[in-house]
């Protein structure tokens, strides 16, 4: 009888430990997922406005982190000030990128545009390396680093910030597209550019705006995730590529799809790393990409046509 009771207590302890483990992975997945969601959103915004897949999206995240580091570490600005300054700064960089590289290319074909954005990504990375060097840099967390213990899982408080800020970014974006005149104009552009022009919409300005918005939210994500990971000049590449996978998963062109895709990708990746194999963690995102492309290229919520020949 005593033995049976002991076994029951042990079972309960194991269950709690298991719960804790699952929660741990879940939070890890949500954190990364939030970043992928924001990056995916950035892809979608630019894609909707210009039909271009912006391969430099990941670099905007990196710039957000590095610029934040500069403001906090070298200029000693308080974190909220640095944060908003970072967003503005990187948004401006986004506008410049569009102005100097996409606009001159005008009617270039898809291959050329893709190569151009890849060139931009490489270039931005090179500039970052020149300015900040190759070493990873540490940024202090927003509110300290004592882990919050929650049902057997230890949560870094910065994770809460990541979730909060990325959620705000997403809500802001949705509000922007639904309720502001610019947002509506951009949606019109996505549907039919010529018609939008005919109605008097200044497409070129909107394209700039799309880059600014996209860069801005990516920078916010970068700035808030940097205290958890170590920021470095090459952190953007993988993040950008995975964010793209999330966008395709959710459906390129669908804002809600991007967000959904990001979180799903993050969670799948975390559980895959935890239960299947941590060394192949990076491969999961691309495996999902291939599966989506082969089974349902429009993604989960995508509506657009994917030409089949």
């Amino acid at each position: 009888m005593g033995g049976g009771l002991l076994a029951l207590i042990n079972l309960r302890r194991e269950k709690i430990a298991l719960m804790g483990q699952i929660l741990q992975f879940l939070f890890s997945g949500l954190t990364n997922g939030a970043v992928y969601a924001v990056i995916a959103l950035g892809f979608t915004i630019i894609y909707n406005a210009t039909d271009v897949i912006n391969f430099a999206q990941g670099e905007f995240v990196m710039l957000g982190a590095m610029v934040m580091y500069t403001f906090v570490h070298f200029l000693s600005w308080p974190i909220p000030v640095a944060f908003f300054a970072t967003i503005i700064c990187v948004s401006v960089i986004g506008i410049l990128v569009e102005f100097f590289t996409i606009r001159p290319a005008k009617n270039a074909d898809i291959i050329s545009l893709i190569i151009i954005t890849i060139g931009v990504s490489i270039f931005l990375r090179g500039v970052a390396m020149m300015i900040w060097g190759k070493d990873p840099v540490a940024i202090p967390p927003f509110t300290g680093s004592t882990p919050i213990v929650f049902m057997g899982a230890a949560i870094d408080p910065q994770i809460i910030w990541v979730l909060v800020i990325t959620l705000i970014a997403m809500i802001f974006t949705q509000w922007f597209f639904k309720y502001t005149i610019w947002g509506k104009a951009m949606r019109a552009c996505a549907v039919n550019k010529k018609a939008a022009k005919l109605v008097g919409i200044k497409v070129e300005r909107l394209v700039s705006l799309s880059f600014a918005l996209s860069a801005g939210i990516s920078a916010a994500a970068g700035a808030v995730i940097a205290p958890i990971t170590f920021a470095s000049y090459d952190m953007g590449t993988m993040l950008g590529l995975k964010g793209f996978c999330a966008a395709v998963l959710g459906g390129l062109g669908s804002g809600v799809g991007s967000i959904l895709g990001g979180f799903i990708l993050g969670i799948l990746e975390a559980f895959g790393a935890g239960y299947i194999s941590s060394s192949y963690k990076d491969a999961f995102a691309f495996l999902i990409l291939l599966i989506v492309l082969f089974l349902k290229p429009q993604g989960l919520l995508g509506q657009g046509e994917v030409d089949k020949l």
């Binding site: 898809i110 893709i114 151009i116 390396m129 060394s279 691309f286 495996l287 994917v306 020949l309």
Partner: protein
């Protein structure tokens, strides 16, 4: 994409000049280090030749071609080191494996158009690269595979720079001739049609799906062969050489040279492989310069340097003859 084709006779004359040029290099350059640079150009040119068939003549994009390059290299490395296989057999195995992978990825992926194919090959390339890094017992992991044997033919070992130079460029010339014939054959005309306008090609009865697949497989096999040659030359390979950057570099070489010509592939490769040698002073900034070159070339010379040069030459000639 305005594709320009020269008649096959002129191509042969150009080829002859090129062979003479190669003889001169091999004869006059005694320093092994510089010969090695030319060998590397030749090896890369083989891979890029294949890619240019895909990108230029068939109008498809592959952002993961380093995977096939790497598969050839690792097949050669692993089969010769771990299993003692004859290097030529290993090379052939590498090509077979690459062809198979290209078939598997191409069959579903080539249904899609435009940037979706680029993404599929991108994903494929990254997954293969991760496998190179993680299957450490087979591939040596991130630190790579050391001690790949050199190529032998009967009693002769290809262990000097000059011997490898001759080997690699001979193979390149052969493949160039093959490719030129391919492009000018009825089949080649079919996939040139693909590049120009796919719907029209279909309307004319060209089976675009099969045509695209065949070109993709051919380009994969070229890349694999190049990878094997690379492995036996440097005798050391690591996953870092076959990642995303490598794929992008290959695409850049095609784009810069000119997607519509096979010679463009050679030119693009020569420029980009030798560029680091000139930039040794700025060895850190070669990344930056690469990006800049990409951007500038694609904005101002999207048809590549060769085509742009032709245009300039034509304009010049036109101005001359018209006073």
């Amino acid at each position: 994409m305005n594709i320009h084709f020269g008649s096959i006779r002129y191509q042969y004359i150009g080829l002859l000049f090129f062979v003479i040029f190669l003889f001169l290099i091999g004869f006059f350059i005694k320093n092994d280090y510089y010969l090695n640079v030319f060998v590397l150009i030749g090896i890369q040119a083989i891979a890029v030749l294949g890619l240019s068939l895909l990108m230029g003549y068939a109008g498809q994009v592959s952002l993961g071609h380093a995977a096939f390059y790497g598969l050839g290299a690792y097949a050669s490395g692993i089969l010769t080191i771990h299993y003692g296989l004859n290097p030529y057999l290993a090379m052939f195995c590498g090509m077979a494996i690459s062809a198979l992978m290209a078939l598997i990825v191409g069959l579903p992926a080539l249904r899609l158009k435009g940037h979706y194919l680029a993404m599929a090959t991108l994903g494929f390339g990254i997954i293969i690269n991760i496998c190179f890094k993680e299957m450490a017992s087979l591939t040596g992991g991130p630190s790579g595979l050391v001690g790949i044997p050199m190529l032998k033919f009967l009693n002769f070992t290809f262990d000097t720079s000059i011997s490898y130079f001759c080997l690699v460029w001979s193979i390149f010339i052969i493949l160039m001739v093959l490719s030129l014939h391919l492009v000018n054959s009825p089949f080649g005309r079919a996939f040139r049609a693909l590049g120009s306008h796919e719907a029209a090609a279909q309307a004319m009865g060209v089976n675009t799906h099969i045509a695209k697949l065949i070109v993709f497989i051919i380009s994969a096999v070229y890349a694999s062969l190049a990878g094997s040659l690379y492995a036996h030359f440097v005798t050391f390979i690591s996953p870092a050489s076959f990642g995303f950057i490598c794929s992008i570099k290959m695409v850049t070489m095609v784009a810069i040279g000119g997607m519509g010509t096979l010679w463009g592939a050679l030119l693009g490769t020569s420029i980009l492989v030798s560029l680091p040698e000139f930039l040794t002073v700025f060895s850190d900034y070669d990344v930056l310069v690469y990006g800049l070159i990409l951007i500038i070339v694609m904005i101002f010379m999207p048809e590549g340097i060769v085509q742009a040069s032709i245009k300039i030459f034509r304009n010049f000639k036109y101005k001359e003859t018209n006073g």
